[in-house]
Symmetry: C2
Subunit: 338 residues, 2 copies
């Protein structure tokens, strides 16, 4: 098999670089270039059983020999571009190349103890960042300033950095689920949606809270209550054996019953990447399993008005789920005291 996706390479080997991992009948090979040779060799030990080559030193014959006695060679059809696919067939002289249908990703969906510990740590840093923000955010500050503070906080409190560009969406901006922070200043009465997460030793966290500057209007309260009610009822449904389609449908139906819509997935797996399996969608046929880590993130967005999303990262267990992010979910009103 040819493993090209650097996340899968990291999952299997701990190597965090640019290169290609080959699993052949004879040996395991990692092909990289001179920029990464020193870093790669500092991660691997003899026990890893991986030969490291600098691509510069490999000949046409070397490439053709790697898979010489293999009947078929797998590749990652969901990562490899069409151009690279053609290149592989030619370069490695592969007669029978086969799709591996997210083979490694299927393993990644279930987390082991080590992985869970890293995600937990990422979630703890995220909670403490959010708690820091509650005293940091002041009227007149821009969304971008808050975003910059989140990024700096993560760097300085043990995280590798952000897991994604944080979303800080205030006032009408909160009506866009994927708003990009702007120079808009925080004003009295603003709904502020903050979606943040960091990486800890490669593993991600993901949390959203919607908070309020000075006061909450009755309109907003109604939406907030509806979102929170659904977030909490989903939390009760998330457990080993849970049917993702049904769990998502429950929220979709409850939103529709109240004349709103769930316009995005209810959640997604979290691990070495921010978005991975399983997707919590009503089109899914998957069943939740112990030691999956997923988000629970219902949201309602009223165009040109405001939006509310509440999101936790949770660990699926035999009889329920454990919230790995634990920040307050009741109304959080900041500013009015100061």
């Amino acid at each position: 098999m040819i493993i090209s996706n650097p996340i899968n390479v990291r999952y299997l080997t701990n190597i965090n670089a640019e290169g290609t991992l080959l699993i052949t009948r004879k040996e395991n090979i990692y092909i990289t270039d001179s920029r990464y040779m020193e870093a790669v060799n500092s991660v691997l030990t003899i026990d890893d059983g991986i030969m490291v080559y600098d691509a510069k030193n490999l000949s046409k014959d070397d490439y053709e020999n790697f898979f010489m006695f293999c009947n078929s060679v797998g590749f990652e059809e969901n990562y490899v571009t069409y151009a690279n696919y053609k290149e592989y067939v030619h370069k490695y002289k592969i007669e029978n190349i086969i799709e591996t249908e997210k083979m490694i990703e299927a393993h990644r969906v279930i987390k082991d103890v080590d992985e869970i510990e890293k995600i937990k740590k990422a979630c703890q840093i995220t909670d403490s960042c959010f708690s820091h923000l509650l005293s940091f955010i002041k009227k007149g500050m821009t969304e971008k300033q808050i975003e910059a503070e989140i990024e700096q906080y993560f760097k300085l409190h043990g995280a590798d950095g952000v897991a994604f560009e944080p979303i800080v969406a205030s006032g009408v901006h909160s009506s866009m689920p994927h708003a990009i922070p702007t120079d808009k200043k925080i004003e009295s009465g603003d709904v502020i949606t903050i979606d943040l997460g960091c990486k800890y030793q490669g593993y991600c966290s993901d949390m959203t809270r919607t908070i309020f500057m000075d006061y909450i209007s009755e309109d907003v309260k109604k939406i907030y209550d509806l979102v929170l009610k659904n977030q909490l009822s989903t939390q009760n449904e998330l457990k080993d054996g849970g049917n993702i389609k049904i769990i998502t449908k429950l929220v979709e139906n409850n939103f529709e019953f109240n004349s709103h819509m769930l316009i995005h997935a209810l959640g997604h797996g979290v691990g070495l990447t921010l978005h991975e399996g399983p997707i919590l969608s009503s089109r899914s046929n998957q069943i939740l399993k112990e030691n999956m880590v997923v988000t629970n993130e219902p949201g309602i967005y009223l165009p040109r008005k405001f939006g509310v999303r509440i999101e936790d990262t949770v660990l699926i267990t035999k009889n329920g789920c454990i919230n790995l992010t634990n920040s307050e979910k009741n109304y959080i009103i900041i500013g009015s005291q100061s």
Copy 2:
């Protein structure tokens, strides 16, 4: 043609979202999902002549109709995965799908006035960030702290954010061209390589300087002088009509003559992405053209000792080149005065 690479979509339409652009005989179509509908519609005007659809509302027939009267349909074989390629052929019922060989990327290599202004602005912010760092960096600070300061500086001084995770590599870490910042503290005598760049309205800058804490040893000076000499001689060669292979060979040969090696490319194009055409490599057959924007970044790395890289982003002109990053390139020694 099906345009899937979001960078190419942004280049052609200014849309910054997830979706697919279709250029058909009848019309231009952008297919996205509900998360991005509001943002996309706020960027486009009637004059753009682009129909926007929510994928949710498209039927099997709609997809099959888009390219109904097209003899062949182009796709981006260097971006589209093998799995998506198969999906396109099926979903759009394409009889003759053809590779477009970086067609749009070829346009992107030559920058227009607007693009150059944005890159210039990104470079200016980068220079001012570097100048800020010279007074900010103190002994005992960690590489990560400096990295966090760079990220925050960019956010708060008009940039969209970083163009890439900044490299802050001190002491032996500087021997790895792609070092990731760690908790290592800056010590007296450290060689510190700082590779930083930001995005301004989507456009990138890229600059590296190697500076020194308290003093420079004679060993380091020798390497620094050799790198700088080659960076300056390259600067003289970069112009419209310049032969990339020869320009790179000159540096490789001079390094080898001095018992060192250039282990990475001499530079790369910069634009909406940090790394784009042309690559300045001795394997290239390309000729430089007016209004290309490229980096000039020779470096020498002595494993387990130290490394030196000096990099500017430059604009190719008819008779030479203009440095868009302009930070000091003579020895910069910090710390000793304070």
